[in-house]
Assembly symmetry: C2
């Protein structure tokens, strides 16, 4: 059902496509690094499967391949960045670097971004902070697909939260999660397998609880983390809203139902309330709080203690956030990245369109 | 089943008790303001019902009524505060003020606190930022009662997240939520009514899903937001962990299973990994990102748009975070605060112990 490709083959292909749409060499490398980090980490929905989606955005003039990314407002610990319609894959890392630079100077840095678009996996950006022994934060708003508690309209995106925290001998703690019960990609997998979704993932277009994984495509909505009101779905709605406000309202981007959808065949609002899609990034130097060695030692102790939590059954141990993605990364660097046939077909399409050689399977 | 007391009567009583245990006049006022904000906002579990709990902590020498609250480490945008075993009700606001002062100077301020204890409702502290048109953040770790996904040990507290965001003509957006499906107080209410809890709230001591609201008292655990693994309970575990690390590891307080429990009859760890309990506060000036008027106008638009979300049925509209608490506050300021008999009994106990007149019911 899948064909394996080496990371290197896919990397070279994606980079050539980004060059073909007009990116500079430097930006093509950055976009490829960001995009393919998803494939390596096992988040297949956000990786090379979306390359064709970015190209479609470019075709519909919603992506500027040569953006002039600028700071439009700042203080010693904050900035607002205008992404100039650049690829979020490129704008995100540029903004995160500004946050880290500010953290070097005054302890922390916080950067809101407007006029951007989809930025790949949230975790790529937060993890940049780890290189400098900083805690990284990454948030973004996204295509409206989620209904707030008691609502049937799609008002929010899956608005992820990512927090990356360095440790010493242990691997870092890397949280990277949508603020919904399930991401859209999981529904697509169930549909392909012809299986039902658990209650609490989606509702139909009338707002009834549903187990149909196709409900969202039929006008229904994803449910916020928690699911139904009695299982505290309002908390997922609250979290998604905070992400939306930090990413959209604070930056001057669109927010809520006005966020421009990633899929280019859906219309962009005629009455936007801001510019493009928004992100929010943060970086905190750990030694802005306590000596670095103390912090890292205690993070090791935190991680070590949680790893040995007494488990309900011995086959499933308590995991540290970031563990599953690290397993994927190790395995896929060695054995390659498995792509489904529709994904390979989308690469063929791009190969023909831009006259770039198809990657060779492993 | 309940007796109504005016806010003023309860206020005077609580203040006298804080004075009786040795607080300065200023600290007694602050502690009372923080504590009773919970009763006003309808969070009955965190208000005057806990006054006797704070007194017990003082009796067991775990609260210092005359703390010397100091900054032990800082940068222009960060600080670590040593609470000197003071009441969290007093230490929290002191730390939040430091965060706000730093935000005035460099755009944002972030303060981690160690050597504190229970700080009342998270929202009291985050809402302080609203007075200065700042966005406020408030987090704390808490008594270990929550099992991480796949675990049966109690490793985390209900570790709340609060974010307060100012608006212009609309009331502010105030998120204040435990990172568990249900707070302990909700289980106590079900127990009194002899009702079962929905699946996803608790597990028994073997880690089996349970609907027994007494399961936590019998050695079971609260479940992280999301509940079971298939409903993404791991995301609640992730969120609670981030709160624990920012509050405990970053500050030098205890974390995870080492957090000293609020109930004084449970032992404090013999091998603490830090000092007391930890909090984490943040303040961001909105005009550190964009002109204040622009931000406030768009927050009004965000709130206004979400209020008119098409709802599933007309009896339940989509709410803005903070709406339910504001309704309570309005109602209770007018009609008084209803206290259950066990709470009134605890006030009688304190009245006799400290020779302070009992409040008069309405």
């Amino acid at each position: 059902m899948t064909t394996n490709y080496s990371y290197k083959e896919l990397y070279n292909f994606a980079k050539k496509i980004f060059l073909a749409i007009g990116c500079s060499d430097q930006d093509a490398i950055q976009a490829t690094n960001t995009l393919l980090s998803a494939d390596l980490r096992g988040v297949d929905s956000h990786g090379i499967a979306r390359l064709i989606g970015y190209v479609r955005l470019w075709e519909s003039k919603r992506v500027n391949p040569k953006p002039n990314i600028t700071v439009v407002h700042e203080t010693p610990s904050t900035a607002v960045v205008d992404g100039d319609k650049g690829l979020g894959l490129v704008v995100g890392p540029a903004a995160m670097k500004i946050a880290m630079e500010k953290a070097k100077n005054v302890g922390t840095g916080w950067v809101a971004v407007k006029n951007s678009n989809h930025y790949g996996i949230a975790g790529y950006h937060s993890m940049m902070a780890l290189e400098e022994d900083m805690i990284g934060f990454s948030f973004t708003n996204a295509s409206p697909l989620v209904a707030p508690t008691f609502g049937k309209e799609r008002m929010l995106g899956t608005n992820p939260i990512s927090v990356a925290i360095p440790a010493k001998n242990e691997p870092p703690f890397v949280a990277d999660m949508a603020t919904t019960t399930a991401a859209n990609g999981k529904l697509e997998i169930l549909q392909r397998k012809n299986e039902q979704a658990p209650l609490g993932w989606v509702q139909d277009k009338e707002g009834n609880p549903s187990t149909d994984p196709g409900a969202v495509k039929d006008g229904g909505a994803l449910l916020p983390l928690g699911g139904s009101p009695k299982n505290a779905g309002h908390k997922g709605y609250i979290l998604g809203s905070v992400v939306d406000i930090l990413s959209g309202v604070l930056s001057g981007a669109n927010y809520g139902p006005w966020v421009p959808p990633f899929v280019s065949f859906l219309p962009v609002s005629d009455n936007p309330v801001g510019e493009g899609l928004g992100h929010f990034f943060g970086a905190m130097r750990v030694d802005a709080f306590r000596p670095k060695e103390d912090f890292l030692k205690h993070m090791d102790q935190w991680i070590g203690r949680f790893r040995v939590t007494e488990s309900i059954n011995n086959e499933k141990k308590v995991k540290i956030p970031g563990d599953p993605e690290r397993m994927f990364e190790k395995e896929r660097k060695e054995n390659g990245i498995p792509l489904l046939k529709p994904v390979v077909d989308s690469l063929k399409n791009l190969s023909e369109k831009f006259d770039v050689d198809l990657p060779n399977p492993n």
